[in-house]
């Protein structure tokens, strides 16, 4: 119970801290990822409902309105955010920066001060969280747990996301049957929810918008259409098709690829168009979509301009070797490494040349797993000897 109150108080602080100049302004909602964690919940209350006031305080006004208008969406967002955090940590398990999050928010951002900088890691965080929300909302929509997500059969005439998601247009050619336009809802919702506060005026906001958008289009383009023929003796009289949402792991994998090939950008000298007039009081009058219409210029003029699915960043990453409280970097002290690898997970690179300690441990783990029909995997517990290397 104590934890809960602490959490509430902390969350209240966080909204005051949200107005730092360089930080992405719409990023405070990430805290929602921790909302479902058991240590923050009172044991009597099932679900996230009890967290409502706390969550609400981290959300911006528009996000609260969205949550109110779409009952059930908040738990999907929370799920998406925690899925994104888990995926980020999986993808960066063997790198110096391992996507660590803070257990308690302490008035700070969930991912720490790294978000204040505009480096590759920040780009990845933005993209994966935005993708997580798109994915989770689309899925919740398909499962019917969001009431306002209706089966919209008129989607063929309506093009909900043109412009930068045009690359994903190929999935829309097929007439979608049933309620499978969930990805459209997820996409639109993610734009409204995740991109709140990113006005697209400064370069940093443009970077965030671009990366959020990239995360979403990865989810969208990886949706696969699967079809099957039916008819007399193997002919194709009836076709049935359905869309398959990608596993979030494959979204994470492709975003990681984009992370490795992310492009460094700068502001174009001449604006393509003046920033759209934005009026908080009447958001419907001004087409908000305009904020997505910008082109970032590569830092190195010889490089290609970044595409819709590329990640972009503004400054080079700090070294993640040593502890740096100013940047919120924990350093790689005590991290496990692989002594035979020559990659980033190898002890040489991971420990930044400080050397490493080798220990022999006994671990109990699952082994001899067998598949039982249907849908159960049974394993034995084995005690195995393991050699563990940790950075000094």
């Amino acid at each position: 119970m104590k934890c809960l109150w602490l959490f509430v108080i902390i969350l209240c602080f966080t909204c005051d801290a949200a107005n730092k100049p360089r930080r992405g302004r719409g990023s405070m909602w990430w805290g929602i990822a921790k909302a479902g964690e058991p240590n923050n919940l009172s044991p009597m209350s099932p679900g996230v409902l009890i967290m409502d006031p706390a969550i609400h305080s981290t959300l911006r006004r528009k996000q609260r309105r969205l949550a109110r208008e779409n009952p059930g969406v908040l738990s999907a967002v929370a799920k998406g955010a925690s899925m994104a955090v888990a995926e980020c940590q999986h993808q960066f398990k063997y790198r110096r920066w391992n996507c660590s999050t803070r257990n308690f928010l302490r008035g700070k951002n969930l991912f720490g001060k790294i978000v204040d900088r505009g480096c590759r890691e920040t780009a990845f965080i933005y993209a994966i969280t935005s993708a997580g929300v798109t994915h989770a909302v689309a899925r919740a929509c398909a499962e019917g747990s969001i009431e306002s997500c209706t089966c919209d059969y008129s989607h063929i005439d309506r093009v909900p996301h043109r412009s930068r998601a045009a690359a994903a247009a190929n999935v829309r050619v097929w007439k979608w049957g049933g309620c499978s336009d969930n990805i459209g809802f997820g996409f639109r919702f993610s734009r409204e929810f995740v991109d709140t506060g990113e006005r697209g005026k400064t370069l940093r906001e443009k970077m965030n918008l671009h990366n959020n958008e990239a995360g979403r289009s990865h989810v969208q383009t990886e949706m696969r259409q699967e079809c099957k023929c039916h008819g007399m003796s193997g002919s194709c009289t009836v076709k049935t098709c359905w869309m398959r949402l990608p596993s979030f792991r494959s979204v994470g994998d492709s975003l990681k690829d984009r992370f490795d090939g992310a492009s460094r950008v700068m502001m174009p000298n001449t604006e393509l168009e003046p920033p759209a007039q934005r009026n908080e009081a009447a958001p419907h009058r001004v087409p908000r979509r305009d904020r997505y219409r910008f082109q970032l210029r590569p830092h190195n003029p010889d490089h290609k301009s970044p595409g819709a699915k590329d990640l972009v960043y503004l400054e080079s990453s700090p070294g993640f070797c040593e502890k740096n409280p100013r940047l919120g970097i924990p350093g790689t002290h005590g991290r496990a490494c692989n002594d035979t690898s020559i990659g980033v997970d190898g002890c040489d690179l991971m420990c930044c040349g400080r050397g490493y300690r080798t220990e022999t441990m006994f671990v109990v783990e699952r082994c001899n797993c067998t598949f039982h029909w249907c849908c159960e995997v049974k394993c034995k517990l084995c005690r195995t000897e393991k050699i563990v290397h940790t950075c000094l």
Partner: protein
């Protein structure tokens, strides 16, 4: 623990994401079928119409339904119908005895020409089933004309109505002209009628979801290749059950295949006898019963005077040519032919040697073997033959699992061979081995 939870959860999501649009499209297709057929039935039922008007009603509604479903390629079905009729009238002047043979050759020749030279593979795959049904109907009419089963030549409206009848022109099943004519009469309809439609519709949707979503999912891709082959073959069989039960829906909703007390008398397939087969011979019989009937009645019996072997050989040739000039179908059908031949004879020998009731077909009344069908020995031998059949079915059905583009545009030679190579031609080897045993016994 966490991983297991994640596993079941994604499985459910997957099924939900697959099942919903699948059902939606399946029902959308069924809706058109039902609407067209119920309209036909209600008009026949409520408005007293002369004989020919009824046939033309069937012709018109059937053409609409066909056009609605396959679009412009429906011209090929209409063309086949018209051409066949004109040709039939023409050859009736020349011969009264060889019409069946001539019609069969020309219809099958026409289909092969279409397949090879005229239509693109995608369009051919789309209309192949429909053309097959039409060809079967034409050949049956021609042979029945030879056998003098018609008092006079059919008029164009009767012939067109029979061929394009909405109840069975799209998904089958084949019915004879006499049955068709008789089904067009006013029927006694009760609440049972709706019940039969709903039950079969429900069944067909279950099979559809099984085929699209559940069967491909429940055996994982990492498992041994025989399990995967079994799974893929089963998905194909489920698709066949879906088509078959939907064809019953379309028949019944047109009021076809109903007995006088409003019971259904159309049987297309028996999933139970195929999923748990007694023998490959039984699978062949129950796979598509009207088709089996057709082959037996019009091909096998016609050729019987020329000897048992010739008759069997021609039956298999006709049946694979009806499927088009495709290596896969010919190979599968020929394999089924040899497999079931070996099985039939081997079981005959085993039954007489061990005096066990283990023939390919269950003994009809009283089996005169020493060990009756419930004896332990009989159960054991039959179980072994069942397992062999299940293996054969997996081996033969795995062909039809393919990427959508292959399904859509037809199976190639390499596709077939690579699938069998993957399974090391196991069934062919097994049958050869069984044949050697048969010879030695």
């Amino acid at each position: 623990m966490d991983e297991d939870e994640e596993y079941t959860e994604t499985a459910w999501t997957y099924i939900a994401l697959c099942g919903e649009p699948t059902l939606y499209e399946g029902l959308r297709f069924a809706k058109d079928l039902i609407i067209a057929n119920v309209t036909l039935r209600l008009i026949i039922q409520l408005v007293p119409l002369p004989h020919n008007v009824r046939h033309s009603l069937s012709l018109v509604i059937g053409s609409f339904l066909l056009y609605h479903n396959i679009g412009p390629p429906f011209i090929w079905t209409v063309g086949l119908t018209t051409g066949a009729y004109v040709f039939m009238i023409f050859i009736s002047f020349i011969t009264k005895k060889w019409r069946g043979l001539l019609m069969s050759i020309s219809v099958i020749g026409f289909l092969l020409l279409c397949e090879l030279y005229v239509l693109n593979p995608k369009m051919w795959q789309q209309i192949r089933g429909i053309q097959m049904i039409a060809a079967m109907k034409i050949i049956s009419v021609a042979i029945e004309l030879d056998r003098d089963l018609f008092k006079r030549m059919l008029n164009p409206v009767e012939f067109g109505g029979y061929l394009l009848c909405p109840a069975n022109s799209i998904l089958g099943p084949w019915i004879s002209f006499h049955n068709y004519n008789q089904y067009l009469e006013v029927k006694f309809l009760s609440r049972r009628w709706i019940k039969i439609i709903v039950v079969n519709l429900f069944l067909s949707m279950v099979f559809l979801v099984l085929s699209n979503c559940i069967v491909p999912w429940y055996i994982d891709d990492e498992l041994p290749k025989w399990l995967i082959a079994y799974r893929d073959a089963q998905a194909f069989r489920m698709s066949h059950y879906f088509v078959s039960s939907l064809s019953i829906v379309s028949m019944i909703s047109a009021g076809f295949g109903l007995t006088n007390d409003c019971h259904s008398e159309v049987h297309v397939t028996k999933p139970f006898f195929i999923e748990l087969p007694r023998s490959l011979v039984q699978v062949v019989i129950y796979w598509n019963m009207p088709m089996h009937q057709w082959l037996k009645n019009y091909v096998f019996k016609t050729c019987q005077p020329y000897g048992q072997f010739t008759a069997i050989f021609i039956t298999y040739t006709v049946s694979s040519l009806l499927h088009g000039l495709n290596f896969q179908f010919s190979a599968v059908l020929l394999s089924i032919g040899t497999f079931s031949y070996v099985e039939y004879n081997l079981r005959h020998k085993v039954a007489s040697a061990l005096e066990v009731c283990c023939l390919a077909n269950p003994c009809s009344k009283q089996c005169d073997h020493k060990y009756k069908k419930n004896s332990a020995l009989a159960l054991f031998t039959n179980a072994i033959f069942s397992i062999i059949t299940i293996v054969h079915l997996a081996y033969l059905g795995v062909m039809f699992e393919a990427s959508f583009s292959v399904q859509e545009s037809g199976y190639s030679y390499f596709h077939t061979i690579s699938k069998w190579e993957n399974l090391n031609y196991f069934s062919h080897g097994l049958v050869a081995f069984l044949y050697v045993i048969y010879l030695l016994m």
